[in-house]
């Protein structure tokens, strides 16, 4: 029983959607991807409040976005020898506290699962065509600018 033969069906699950995602169902799906799964790493991005922020509005480039996320997930699967991975990103208007993005990576061992999780979210931040606009309680709205720290995190991989 070799890892690679059991992993041939490890097609990444990628979705861009308005609706919330079901974390438990997605986790369950990956857990059952292979009997060789020993660990699942995950990251959930949430709309962080403070400074009068009310909501974020997320815009994306349909088609290009899904393609880039699929390429990224495929790269992660090969590079970290994953049993499976999932990337779901929401778009539209999201209130403070709402989940924005879910990244899951399942592998035989924890180091690969956790490395892949970080790789996926670091690269997604500056490499997938999403843009965020912030909406404040005094009516102000403005586009979030890309941060040097995020560019560096993505370039580090």
């Amino acid at each position: 029983m070799s890892g690679s033969s059991l992993r041939t069906a490890a097609v990444p699950r990628v979705r861009v959607q308005d609706d919330p995602f079901d974390i438990a169902a997605e986790m369950e799906c990956l857990r059952q991807a292979s009997v060789l799964v020993g660990g699942i790493g995950s990251f959930i991005g949430v709309v962080r409040g403070g400074g009068g922020l009310v909501a974020l509005s997320l815009e994306h480039y349909p088609g290009m976005c899904e393609r880039i996320l699929t390429d990224l997930a495929t790269e992660a699967t090969e590079r970290f020898d994953l049993c499976g991975c999932t990337v779901i990103h929401r778009v539209g208007r999201l209130l403070v506290g709402e989940p924005i993005v879910l990244v899951l990576a399942a592998a035989a061992h924890r180091a690969a699962a956790l490395d892949a999780t970080r790789f996926l979210i670091d690269r997604l931040k500056t490499g997938a065509p999403f843009w965020k606009s912030e909406e404040f309680d005094d009516g102000r709205c403005h586009w979030v600018e890309s941060r040097a720290v995020d560019e560096e995190a993505a370039a580090g991989w």
Binding site: G45, L58, E59, H60, Y61, G63, M64, R67, H89, I100, V101, I121, L124, K125, T126, G127, A128, P129, F130, W131, K132, S133, W143, V144, E145, S146, D150, E151
Partner: protein
């Protein structure tokens, strides 16, 4: 040379240009740079939009490109600010 090129604008750039999508004749625009220069000559508002703050990124047919990328009739060219997902 015939046909058209579809241009898409996203986020802050879409707001500054004042539209999200337009279809222009392909004309004599062998590269992204030539397309941009042609649009600037035709439309002062367009010029201002591209002179705004921040960098402009470009994709051709949904693949990241740069200003020297060649164009062909039927291409989809997208302009947008640096991406801020996650």
């Amino acid at each position: 040379m015939s046909g058209t090129v579809t241009i898409l604008y996203f986020a802050a750039l879409r707001e500054r240009v004042g539209r999200g999508r337009e279809v222009v004749p392909f004309g004599d625009m062998p590269t992204v740079r030539a397309l941009l220069e042609a649009r600037r000559r035709e439309d002062a508002g367009f010029n201002d939009a591209f002179s705004g703050p921040g960098q402009v990124r470009v994709a051709v047919n949904k693949v990241l490109a740069d200003f020297s990328t060649p164009l062909h009739a039927g291409d989809e060219v997208a302009f947008f600010p640096p991406m801020t997902g996650g």
